[in-house]
């Protein structure tokens, strides 16, 4: 038991030494994601683009070609069909109709009539143009506020230099996740937006743990050069970083494979995000600190304060 004892006790990978490699990788990931977003964009779901989504179950395995022919003949514009989990389950996406909310409702009726009876409508979502725009705005606002809120918190708890590094890593993770959704063209809806924000929370969680250790090591090893301190801090927390990522990923894989079709896109993003968030804490956030002039030295006011606080706790 206790396999953790088999792990080498003193880990010493040269993370800081190899930072150039990480920075190149991160820059490529970041720019690639932005490029993907600009060229092929996101596959916005019904939440954000407005329109109609129906999940139906047919008595026999669905004949997508035949269904497509029937629905496209309705003249409700672009209808896309996609198998959804079971062979009998079909997801029908209907583009936003010209005109007001009433037109959308008429389109739903037309599709239902065309599908005929005997088909179970398992889910039906309709988002009018007004609400689509509102949800987009609220989503953007939530993302920006979450990033700012987290940045401010780090700034309050650490020195501002840490805040800057954490925020860069955070933006990196969020952009890389957007890139992931753009590359895979997995539907981007309210749930996936929630995934992005959760990733922001997770990634910063990971970063904070290492930053905490950096702060402590800076006080403890006053003579060591900064890169060495940073590298030790990463290595000292490395087993925790890996273990926590693994348990989280285990739970997420359970969700991905068994949690049902509806939230698969959401869990896929979280899995990617947890991996990227873990990488960015180690490969980006901490190495970035080497570029920022951190205050060292013992007679520092804040340090003494913090030490007394710790001693008394």
């Amino acid at each position: 038991m206790a396999l953790i004892r088999k792990l080498p006790v003193e880990l010493n990978f040269g993370f800081i030494h190899r930072r150039g490699l990480f920075f190149i990788f991160s820059a490529a990931l970041f720019l690639g994601s932005i490029g993907l977003f600009l060229t092929q964009g996101l596959n916005f779901g019904v939440d954000f683009r407005g329109g109609i989504l129906m999940e139906v179950r047919t008595p026999q395995p669905a004949d997508l070609g035949e269904l497509r022919g029937r629905l496209n003949a309705l003249g409700v514009g672009e209808v896309s069909l996609q198998q959804f989990g079971e062979p009998t389950d079909v997801l029908i996406n209907i583009a936003k109709q010209e005109g007001d909310e009433q037109q959308q409702i008429l389109a739903i009726e037309a599709v239902k009539d065309a599908l005929g009876s005997g088909i179970e409508i398992r889910r039906q979502e309709f988002v009018g143009p007004k609400i689509g725009d509102e949800l987009k705005e609220a989503g953007l606002l939530a993302t920006v506020l979450a990033l700012l809120g987290i940045g401010v918190y780090i700034w309050l708890r650490f020195e501002w230099q840490f805040g800057v590094a954490a925020l860069i890593a955070l933006v990196h993770d969020v952009v890389a996740t957007i890139g992931f959704y753009s590359l895979t063209q997995i539907e981007f809806n309210l749930a996936t937006l929630a995934a992005v924000l959760t990733i922001a929370g997770y990634s910063i969680n990971d970063t904070v743990v290492i930053f905490d250790r950096v702060r402590e090591s800076l006080r403890r090893y006053k003579k060591l050069p900064l890169p060495e301190v940073l590298n030790r801090s990463i290595n000292m927390t490395l087993s925790r970083t890996i273990l926590t990522s693994l348990t989280t990923l285990l739970a997420l894989f359970a969700l991905f494979f068994f949690g049902g079709e509806v939230i698969r896109g959401f869990s896929a993003g979280l899995i990617w995000g947890v991996a990227i968030g873990t990488y960015s804490s180690v490969g980006l956030a901490v190495p970035l600190l080497t570029f920022i002039k951190l205050r060292r030295g013992g007679a520092d006011e804040e340090d003494t304060e913090a030490e007394t606080a710790e001693a008394s706790s």
């Binding site: 206790a2 987290i150 925790r240 926590t244 348990t247």
Partner: protein, 524 residues
């Protein structure tokens, strides 16, 4: 830290006990049993986690009330009132009418300004009257008046929607005002969501008016009449539209009852007027025997029967070409009353009961498997300590369940995802602590001091890291809608319960183990 004060031990055990008690209704009883208990048992915890519409199946409808429609009506009425006043006070005017945001007119003689102002001011409170030197009048409803009116319409609309849904026999529907002009309707567990939408969406303004038989449909129509389509237009032998008088003989407001019944084997709706309505209907029909009158619902002519004899009892039937269901729905709408303004649907999310049940099952499987994976991993990695952390993980889930039940927070499918994520992240605090203990031991400390220092030093990190995630979760709660809120709720609650269980519960277990065994070394 290794010496836990007695009161802390008691407090920890008490919290866990309460958690078990409040979580138990979810595990011990079926949903129906719990509903029954809610009626009988007073103080015994019986609340179960309330499931969101995406898990129970149901309809989520966000609708918008067309307030502008009512405001336009108000302005037209105001213009009519002004016309009457001016005529009575012999004030000369021109160009009187609705300007879209105000009522405007021009005085023939600007010297009448004060007289006009008095005449208008007497009509209603909250009118803002501007008259310039050249006699141009602008009358607007004040902002306070507009707001009061909007509130009144919204309250009325919500009341009508509620009556209609109640008439459908649905339990537990939630109907709330949402923002300035929206109503959020959530109805769980419906067999026929389509019917609900149709019933709520009808304005259901019923009027009885005379048919203008002097004018053929399609021809020139006098200003006192209008052409309206027939509800069953296209049926052979009947006209597709009717020219009807704009003047309303009796309106649906005067109905006291309506019910679906059969007349000569055909589904019809029978109705009864109140005394005043009965008198008006009686007078009008007595004077017009042999003529046609129209029964009009939302600007469609349902039927246009001949008045064979005066209808004096205030009772009658509406016979259109109804199916039984349509007759029932019409009766329901007439009983529940008309909406004060038309409503449109902005957003709809309907989940069938089949998908809901599948989602619950998938969520349960994912949670249990996630739990098993994490427990196996933790025990494999940390041995005994991993087992202790797993106990804390169970406690965490129980506390989370209890918190959801007590707060009656709604559990949604993304909410279940939040729980699964919490399972994965909850052990983080323990990993942090255990890794710290390992480090302290490597630094040469004995078991007791290592455990003590491990907990103490990890604490600050745990708080910092959890609070950042909590910030993200709270923002999700604030800005997310529907199911996403559910995710934010379970994630936030899960973070809080996991901090308690990972720190306090494992500490209790570790301390108890240290005391009883007094080990020389830790298996970490």
């Amino acid at each position: 830290m290794v010496h836990l004060p007695r009161w802390q031990v008691i407090l920890i055990l008490l919290v866990v006990l309460l958690g078990v008690i409040y979580a138990s209704p979810n595990l011990l009883f079926s949903r129906d049993q719990a509903d029954q208990m809610a009626e009988s048992a007073g103080w015994v915890p019986h609340q179960q986690i309330s499931l969101g519409l995406d898990l129970r199946g149901g309809v989520y409808l966000l609708s918008e009330v067309d307030l502008d429609y009512v405001f336009a009506e108000d302005r037209e009425n105001l213009a009519e009132d002004i016309r009457r006043e001016f005529t009575r006070d012999s004030i000369g005017y021109s160009d009187l009418g609705d300007l879209g945001d105000s009522v405007g007119a021009t005085l023939a003689d600007p010297a009448d300004a004060d007289k006009a102002r008095d005449a208008i001011a007497g009509l209603s409170q909250g009118l803002q009257i501007d008259i310039d030197d050249s006699g141009v009048i602008r009358v607007t409803f004040s902002e306070a008046e507009t707001r009061t009116r909007a509130n009144q319409i919204m309250a009325q609309a919500i009341e009508v929607v509620r009556r209609r849904i109640d008439e459908l026999g649905t339990r537990e529907a939630s109907i709330q005002r949402h923002g300035d002009d929206r109503i959020l309707i959530q109805v769980p567990g419906l067999d026929d969501p389509q019917r609900l939408k149709e019933i709520i969406g009808k304005t259901a303004v019923l009027t009885f008016r005379f048919v203008n038989e002097n004018v053929r449909p399609g021809g020139p129509i006098p200003p006192s009449s209008e052409e309206l389509p027939a509800a069953d237009s296209g049926r052979s032998g009947l006209p597709g539209s009717y020219v009807v008088s704009k003047r309303v003989m009796v309106s649906g407001d005067s109905l006291t009852s309506a019910s679906a019944t059969f007349d000569q084997g055909r589904p019809v709706v029978s109705f009864a007027f109140d005394a005043q309505g009965a008198k008006r209907f009686g007078d009008a029909t007595r004077d017009n025997v042999g003529k046609l009158f129209a029964i009009i619902l939302d600007d469609q002519v349902i039927s246009a029967p001949v008045i064979n004899e005066p209808i004096l009892g205030g009772r009658g039937i509406i016979s259109g070409s109804f199916t039984t269901q349509e007759a029932q729905d019409l009766a329901l709408l007439l009983r529940a009353g008309a909406l004060p303004a038309p409503i449109t649907y902005l957003e709809e999310r309907t989940v069938g009961p089949g998908l809901g049940a599948d989602s619950i099952l998938a969520g349960e499987i994912a949670s249990v498997l996630g739990l098993i994976f994490v427990v196996v991993f933790m025990v494999g990695a940390y041995g005994l300590f991993g087992a202790l952390a797993s106990v804390a993980l169970f406690v965490n889930l129980i506390l989370l369940m209890a918190a959801l039940s007590v707060l009656q927070a709604t559990l949604t499918l993304p909410g279940i995802a939040g729980i699964v994520l919490t399972i994965g992240m909850a052990v983080d605090a323990n990993v942090l602590i255990f890794e710290r203990i390992r480090e302290e031991m490597r630094a040469g400390r004995g078991p007791v001091t290592a455990v003590d220092a491990g907990y103490r030093r990890a604490m600050k990190t745990i708080f910092d890291s959890n609070l950042t995630t909590l910030i993200a979760a709270l923002l999700l709660f604030q800005f997310g809608s529907g199911p996403i809120k559910g995710f934010a709720v379970t994630l936030s609650l899960g973070l809080i319960t996991s901090m308690f269980s990972a720190i306090m519960v494992t500490r209790l277990l570790v301390v108890a183990w240290l005391r009883s065994r007094r080990p020389q070394a830790l298996a970490l």
